[in-house]
């Protein structure tokens, strides 16, 4: 079993307090959807908004989505948001961000490697964080948009921002990730990138998710549900031919230094099902 602790930033927006906690016992959930569902169980009474990334985010092509897990009036929804957020969360050294409570006044969360600043809504989120290293989610007309373009299906982000009285979230990541065998990593990166013709989406000229060259028109509104392994990594559903190949997944995880076994990967769907059953 993998023994790398998961780093979770929890933000109490009512008290304007935050803390980073490390959890070793969350390793079996891998990341993304799996980790998000488990965190939903842990924070269920606080009605959290959860952003979770997987072990491949920021490291391999087509693994560019961020899992959002929310409680939609008793139904636990998993949504996958495009753009550059997953890379910023990963480069901030985090595996997930859990936001709960309700702010008395509209608040912007300015998140960095070192902590959270709570800003009032008179500030422009585009001026917070570091240019080129930040991801900005903010009110844009009647919508909540990431990078001025990416959003979620069925206005889930709008509902969450309204309920919690959030007017923006900025995440800046400046950590560097160390890999023991960099040459092997780079070789694998290039091999996976070379498989872009296997994606079930056409190349386009739309804004693209970070670390994905496709520029497809599908990532604008994100994804909902689907394959739990793919969404625990967190890869794009249109790259399922690549990232549901267990051999590829193991090669990626091994080169990154994770020690998962086949049993760990095979037991993930059941683990998630049991978690969801406990909170549904």
């Amino acid at each position: 079993m993998e023994t790398r602790p998961r780093k979770i930033l929890s933000i109490d927006i009512t008290k304007k307090e935050s803390e980073v906690k490390s959890f070793e016992d969350l390793n079996s959930y891998i990341g993304g959807a799996g980790l998000g569902f488990k965190l939903m169980e842990m924070y269920y009474d606080k009605n959290p908004l959860i952003f979770a990334v997987g072990p491949l985010n920021g490291l391999f092509p087509f693994a560019s989505k961020t899992a959002l897990v929310i409680n939609n009036d008793g139904v636990i929804e998993d949504i996958y948001l495009g753009g550059n957020l997953s890379l910023r969360i990963r480069y901030a050294g985090l595996d997930a961000i859990v936001v709960y409570g309700t702010s008395q006044e509209k608040t912007i969360l300015d998140i960095t490697n070192t902590g959270v600043s709570f800003k009032d809504s008179t500030e422009d989120p585009e001026t917070l964080g570091l240019p080129g290293k930040r991801s900005v989610i903010k009110v844009d007309g009647s919508k909540i948009l990431l990078g001025g373009y990416f959003t979620t299906p069925e206005h889930y982000l709008e509902k969450e921002f309204t309920d919690k009285n959030i007017s923006g979230i900025v995440v800046t990541g400046t950590e560097l990730i160390n890999i023991k065998d960099f040459d092997k990593y780079e070789d694998l990166y290039k091999k996976i990138l070379g498989r872009k013709d296997e994606l079930s989406v056409l190349e386009g000229t739309y804004p693209s998710c970070s670390n994905c060259p496709m520029g497809c028109g599908k990532s604008k509104t994100g994804e909902m549900g689907g394959n739990v392994l793919l969404h625990s990594l967190v890869a794009c559903q249109y790259a399922d031919r690549i990232y549901t190949d267990v051999g590829v997944v193991f090669s990626c995880l091994n080169v990154l230094g994770y020690n998962y076994t086949h049993e760990d990967i095979e037991s993930l769907p059941k683990l998630i099902e049991q978690t969801l059953r406990r909170i549904s």
């Binding site: 920021g58 490291l59 092509p61 550059n84 890379l87 480069y91 585009e126 240019p131 080129g132 290293k133 990078g147 001025g148 373009y149 990541g173 400046t174 950590e175 560097l176 990730i177 160390n178 890999i179 960099f182 780079e186 990166y189 990138l193 190349e203 000229t205 739309y206 804004p207 693209s208 998710c209 970070s210 670390n211 994905c212 060259p213 496709m214 520029g215």
Partner: protein
């Protein structure tokens, strides 16, 4: 003389940051700290138009700029050979 990487067609950029990450890998880095290429959303673009701006550090010339040009899926860059 080292080759020069030029942003010749910024209007084609889709913001994927493949160039940034390729340059970082050449420096054996994974992350954005010290990135020699930065990609920004151009917030001054006309309503409804998504545009990106790129900023290149001159130190990029010490890297393999042909690889950076090639990894861009939209042909944003040109490589100039010095006279």
């Amino acid at each position: 003389m080292p080759k020069i990487l030029k942003v010749s067609f910024p209007e084609k950029c889709v913001g994927c940051e493949m160039c940034t990450l390729e340059a970082q890998r050449q420096l054996r880095k994974i992350g954005l700290d010290g990135a020699l290429i930065r990609v920004f959303r151009n917030t001054n673009s006309k309503l409804g138009n998504m545009e990106y701006a790129l900023e290149i550090d001159p130190r990029i010339s010490s890297l393999n700029v042909d690889k950076i040009q090639k990894i861009c899926p939209k042909g944003v860059f040109e490589v100039e050979e010095p006279d």
